[in-house]
């Protein structure tokens, strides 16, 4: 029986099941309020002592989490309501549980993922003290076990010996939890959001934390398939480690620049800048969520990424709303949005909103090596209008004495008119091929329609011929050409892209190592 869930830390684990949700032993009530208070004080002290001992062996991330737990436990504001309840006659365990459950409910009600994920930390803090009260220690799982249950406490993760393998399968949990972060950094496979049936489960299970799923009572055929996937994953991980830290070079010794695509400023927190040649595409749609972003918010988001990249280039794309990415208060409802008011067309139609983004970009440019590109350009006039807006805002900032710099301005090549007649764009600073949109427009097959997915292939000769034409034009005129669509990180497409003349690809951070490995196999 296979149950699907959400991968929180990639990998594979095969092993015996271990139930995380075994209740702690009961607490024996004391004879009076003073004794109950003393019992709770002692239990909090023992829990803090245990955490302090764990910190001794923890690395940076884990130590930070444990310090947070200790700071919470040592704060009278957390235990105050529990001591007050004991004063009015409650037992220590019930008083502590009620006080903490109130805090936990507050966290669970938050509309922010990050804040909601802290509820797991509060439950951990609650249970550590409850265990200390009943002087109970949690049973240890057997080596290599798959731990399953509602959720897992960070301390439980840190106390578990992962050296013999094993994994985590949770009904709830979150990829944003502290445990998920720890699991990723230690390579422990973890899947969350699994609809695991109630009741005790026994025997072995197969945890697939690459696609996200668990198989209970597997058949020999399921086990065989699973082991092949696990071995293939291990092989790819090994190759990734070898290639990730090296520059990308083909079999013939040709150097290829490999940059990364990011969607959120925080994406760069998980990337070592020395493993890539910069940011080939920073999307800015994330800023345009429920409300339109102000200039300060945008400026700080751009600045963070520029400072992270240092001297390496960061190519920021002006907002590409519309199409399959509607924004309330900005985009318009259309019957055929992929062919409608999206990308630069929308920005030029809503100049009040576009100018805010332009000012934030001009100001952020002084903090690094910024390049800016416009999405969905179809005619040279659109580029000229956008460039004129940059010049206008630049003059306004200069008049106000605000520090700024005009970055090189380039265009996305995704509308076939640009790829067919690139000579009209000889004065742009650079081209970046958006292969997803270019392919869908050349093949007249919507990206979001599975029924025509078979038509959406970048390796169709018509698409590759256009890419080769743009690469040749760029080379002739000295205009840099890169590609930032999904194809750039697809090992099956990379040989054709390099043969078409591209030497600059931008890929999802998770594909960086695989893309470099695929490049090394290409004979050009």
């Amino acid at each position: 029986m296979r149950i699907d869930g959400i991968p929180a830390s990639p990998g594979y684990a095969e092993g015996p099941l271990f139930d995380l949700d075994q209740p702690p032993a009961g607490y024996e009530a004391k004879t009076g309020a003073a004794e109950e208070k003393a019992a709770l004080e002692g239990a909090i002290g023992r829990a803090v002592g245990r955490l302090a001992a764990l910190i001794e062996t923890a690395d940076g991330d884990a130590a930070g989490i444990l310090e947070f737990h200790i700071a919470m436990l040592e704060d009278d504001a957390l235990s105050g309501p529990a001591f007050a309840a004991i004063g009015s006659g409650q037992a220590a365990d019930a008083a502590w549980r009620a006080a903490l459950d109130g805090e936990i409910a507050g966290y669970e009600a938050s509309d922010q993922d990050y804040f909601r994920a802290r509820a797991a930390d509060l439950r951990d803090i609650r249970d550590q003290v409850l265990r200390a009260l009943s002087e109970d220690s949690a049973p240890a799982p057997p080596p290599g076990a798959i731990l399953y249950g509602e959720d897992i406490a960070p301390t439980r993760f840190l106390e578990t010996d992962w050296s013999k393998g094993g994994g985590i399968a949770l009904k709830r949990g979150s990829a944003a939890s502290h445990v998920a972060m720890l699991a990723r950094s230690r390579g422990v496979p973890m899947v969350v959001g699994l609809d695991i049936p109630a009741g005790p489960l026994t025997g072995a299970a197969l945890l697939d934390a690459e696609r996200g799923g668990i198989v209970f009572s597997p058949s020999p055929a399921e086990t065989e398939t699973f082991r092949q996937s696990a071995s293939s994953f291990a092989g790819r991980q090994g190759a990734a480690r070898t290639f990730l830290t090296e520059p990308a070079v083909t079999k013939a010794g040709t150097t290829v620049r490999v940059q990364v695509n990011i969607a959120y400023p925080s994406d760069v927190d998980g990337i070592d800048i020395s493993t890539c040649d910069g940011v080939g595409l920073m999307r800015t749609e994330f800023l345009f969520g429920k409300t339109l972003p102000d200039e300060e918010t945008q400026y700080h988001a751009y600045r963070k990424v520029l400072e992270w990249a240092g001297d390496k280039p960061v190519t920021i794309r002006t907002v590409d709303a519309g199409g399959d990415k509607p924004v309330p208060g900005f985009t318009v409802k259309e019957t055929n949005p992929f062919l409608g008011l999206r990308g630069i067309r929308l920005s030029l139609a809503r100049r009040d909103i576009f100018r805010v983004q332009i000012r934030a970009l001009l100001r952020a440019a002084i903090h690094g090596n910024l390049k800016v590109m416009f999405p969905m350009i179809a005619t040279p006039d659109e580029y000229s209008q956008a460039a004129a807006l940059f010049a206008g805002e630049q003059a306004a900032l200069a008049a106000q004495g605000v520090a700024h710099r005009l970055p090189p301005l380039g265009i996305m090549v995704e509308v076939p008119s640009v790829a067919l007649a690139p000579e009209a764009f000889a004065d742009v600073a650079f081209f970046s091929i958006g292969s997803n949109d270019l392919t869908q427009y050349v093949m007249a097959a919507a990206r979001d329609n599975a029924a025509v997915a078979h038509l959406n292939s970048i390796r169709h000769p018509a698409v590759l011929r256009l890419i080769a034409a743009v690469a040749a034009f760029g080379q002739e005129k000295g205009i840099p050409v890169s590609l930032c669509g999904d194809a750039g990180g697809d090992p099956a497409a990379i040989p054709a892209l390099l043969e078409a003349g591209l030497r600059d690809l931008s890929v999802a951070p998770a594909q960086l190592a695989m893309a470099k490995a695929a490049i090394a196999d290409v004979p050009v």
């Binding site: 940076g60 991330d61 930070g64 989490i65 310090e67 947070f68 700071a71 919470m72 704060d75 009278d76 504001a77 957390l78 805090e103 507050g106 938050s110 922010q112 990050y114 804040f115 802290r118 930390d121 502290h178 972060m181 990723r184 950094s185 400023p265 925080s266 760069v268 927190d269 998980g270 070592d272 300060e296 918010t297 700080h300 963070k304 992270w308």
Partner: protein, 100 residues
């Protein structure tokens, strides 16, 4: 002595005033004798900046304008030190950039 000080600062740290940043924030606040409070709106509610439980309860994500006020000995120094800490992203970039 009735020294008092007040300031606002934009939170730019990716996760806001949560977990690890709040540990650093409250530790620093506790190093001053002055009474220190924080709020996410100019008219409050105000939370005790020396209590991590209260600071977490302020739920201040990235992009929040954090209001800080202090009263008593070293009020100005306390507000300045806390504003600096928030502006330095809680000193997390250097020791946190390569994790997660």
């Amino acid at each position: 002595m009735s020294a008092s000080a007040e300031a606002t600062v934009l939170i730019t740290h990716a996760v806001g005033l949560h977990a690890r940043p709040s540990v650093k924030f409250t530790k620093l606040a506790k190093s001053f004798a002055a009474e220190v409070e924080v709020a996410v709106a100019a008219n409050g509610p105000w939370f005790d900046a020396k209590s991590i439980v209260k600071v977490m309860a302020a739920k201040a994500p990235k992009g929040t304008m954090l209001h800080i006020r202090a009263k008593g000995d070293g009020a100005a120094q306390a507000v300045k030190a806390l504003v600096d800490l928030v502006q330095r992203d809680f000193d997390e970039d250097a020791d946190h950039a390569r994790s997660a």
